[in-house]
């Protein structure tokens, strides 16, 4: 290995080389500051007009473009031929692409996810066993925060291949209460009680109207579905208040839930 001699070291620290080094530092610092400033201003300007998802894409595009330009300027300061470098980068890209097929697949899947717009940042999605709020949609993965505050990273490729449910896509939702009442229950009274519970609950929407369906005569009793529409943000309030009031009112009216008989012990 060739070691630099003190004389050679000294020759490196000429005014010219120091000036080049200073220019590089200035270029890097100024460019990064400018890029961050442009990103900040852009986000502030478009904050009320675009969704969080779009803002995130805009911000990342500005920052990545700025950093790329900064490095190109730095390399130009070193006297490197950028055309040749870009050509080499293309060839290297193909080689890296073969070596990192999974990552490339995730990147391409990420592009599809973003363009398809099945969900965006802030939506609540269900993917397999996970349900949570989308935190970011990145090139390689989507990060979600579950309701018990776990941070889950889902590779984009998985999301493209799997069934994804966007729970909060539409502004209103229907909460389906499904239960079984004993045979012989007064179904007219049951319907009236359920409708009354929905009417007196300010979280339930008057329109679309609640849905009352007698599903079937089941094995242990009459299976009933009662659907109430609500604004998506009120999910927990609607579920808890309706469960409480329906349980209370049915108890008062003497309508009993049917449950499966206990399994006889051997």
């Amino acid at each position: 290995m060739h070691l630099l001699m003190p004389e050679e070291l000294r020759s490196l620290f000429t005014l010219d080389t120091l000036w080049v080094a200073a220019r590089i530092i200035i270029v890097l610092v100024v460019t990064l500051l400018v890029v961050r400033f442009i990103a900040f201003v852009t986000i502030q300007v478009f904050k009320k007009r675009f969704s969080q998802q779009t803002l995130m894409i805009i911000k990342k595009t500005i920052i990545y473009s700025g950093v790329t330009i900064a490095w190109m300027i730095v390399l130009a300061q070193f006297g490197l031929n950028l055309t040749a470098l870009l050509g080499a980068a293309g060839i290297a890209g193909i080689a890296i692409g073969f070596a990192a097929q999974t990552s490339v697949s995730n990147v391409i899947s990420g592009v599809f996810l973003i363009s398809e717009k099945s969900f965006s940042v802030g939506d609540v999605i269900r993917v397999g066993a996970y349900t949570g709020t989308v935190l970011t949609i990145d090139l390689l993965s989507v990060k979600i925060r579950t309701f018990d505050n776990q941070y889950i990273r889902l590779p984009n490729e998985t999301l493209i291949k799997t069934e994804v449910t966007n729970i909060t896509r539409f502004p209103i939702r229907r909460y389906n209460m499904e239960f079984v009442v004993k045979f012989g229950s007064d179904l007219v009274l049951l319907k009236e009680i359920l409708l009354d519970c929905a009417r007196s609950n300010t979280n339930c929407l008057d329109e679309p109207e609640p849905l009352f369906v007698i599903n079937t005569f089941g094995r242990y009793g009459i299976e009933v579905l009662f659907g109430i529409w609500f604004v998506k943000e009120d999910f927990l309030a609607v579920r808890n208040s309706m469960m409480t009031s329906v349980h209370q009112k049915l108890q008062e009216a003497g309508i009993e839930f049917a449950i499966a008989p206990p399994v006889p012990q051997a």
């Binding site: 007009r49 300010t202 008057d206 329109e207």
Partner: protein, 266 residues
């Protein structure tokens, strides 16, 4: 009868108002205001706004605390139009015959704002005068959240049966088509409703909105839209509350929405 709706409150004393079905409690201490409110099932008539001191709210009611730098010791009430659109649903549908203009009257719920008295009044809070139910206007995928009023509408102002704290809203329906126009619900936008009151009337009594809501049935397709010719039908009396204006959409936002429609993006 209190026409100005202003009261001086002693330090640390809880005052209670029963305004229609609204039960309101306010307590003032130095630099802080506390309030609690609920809607009762009983309508307190005739309307009275005389506060009862030392009347404590139910224990399960939550107090909201507001810090104010104002040295004011008094509170003033004022009426306001609803903060979102209202759909008035009648018990029976009404049909407007071809080439006929119908003058209908519907009740619109009003809100109350409480603010400090002084040179620089500060709004402490605002509450609806009655328990308001909500409904969705539009398809489950896209629409508007509105208040739902089941008080009905009439062709005579005196026939509108509603709580006295509603404002009377005259609606003109012009059917320009060759078919009868049948409807059982009227959609009233809140951003067009100014509130008026006769000069010598109590601050909560005889509230009337402007009658600029004109529903027009188009010639062929019996579709209808709210007319934009504002300022017509200004009732007698003084203006007591201006309509809550929506944020005017900028040309940029309109252009972006148009782009979304054309490109199917978003």
């Amino acid at each position: 009868m209190n026409r100005s709706a202003q009261w001086e409150l002693d330090d640390g004393v809880v005052y209670h108002w029963a305004i229609g079905s609204l039960a309101l409690w306010i307590c003032r201490t130095v630099g802080e205001w506390s309030y609690a409110w609920t809607h009762t099932d009983q309508l307190v008539l005739p309307l009275t706004d005389t506060p009862s001191p030392h009347a404590l709210p139910p224990e399960d009611l939550v107090w909201t605390r507001v810090v104010s730098a104002s040295p004011a010791t008094g509170v003033a009430f004022a009426v306001r139009p609803p903060d979102r659109a209202t759909v008035i649903k009648g018990e029976q549908a009404i049909a407007v015959l071809p080439h006929t203009t119908a003058e209908l009257f519907a009740p619109v719920p009003v809100w109350i704002t409480a603010s400090t008295i002084g040179d620089k009044p500060q709004i402490l809070f605002e509450v609806p005068t009655q328990r308001l139910h909500r409904r969705w206007f539009g398809s489950p995928m896209q629409g508007t959240l509105c208040y739902s009023v089941h008080a009905g509408f009439s062709t005579h102002a005196s026939e509108v049966s509603a709580d006295p704290v509603y404002a009377l809203c005259p609606i003109r329906v012009r059917n320009l088509s060759n078919e009868p126009f049948r409807t059982d619900a009227l959609y009233i936008q809140s951003d067009q409703l100014n509130l008026y009151r006769p000069e010598d009337s109590h601050w909560l009594h005889n509230l009337v909105t402007n009658s600029e809501i004109t529903t027009v049935a188009a010639a062929d397709d019996v579709s209808f839209a709210v007319s934009s010719d504002r300022g017509k039908g200004r009732p007698d009396g003084q203006l007591v509350a201006r309509a809550r204006r929506r944020h005017e959409e900028s040309w940029w936002k309109r252009g972006y929405v148009l782009f979304q429609r054309i490109s199917n993006y978003g």
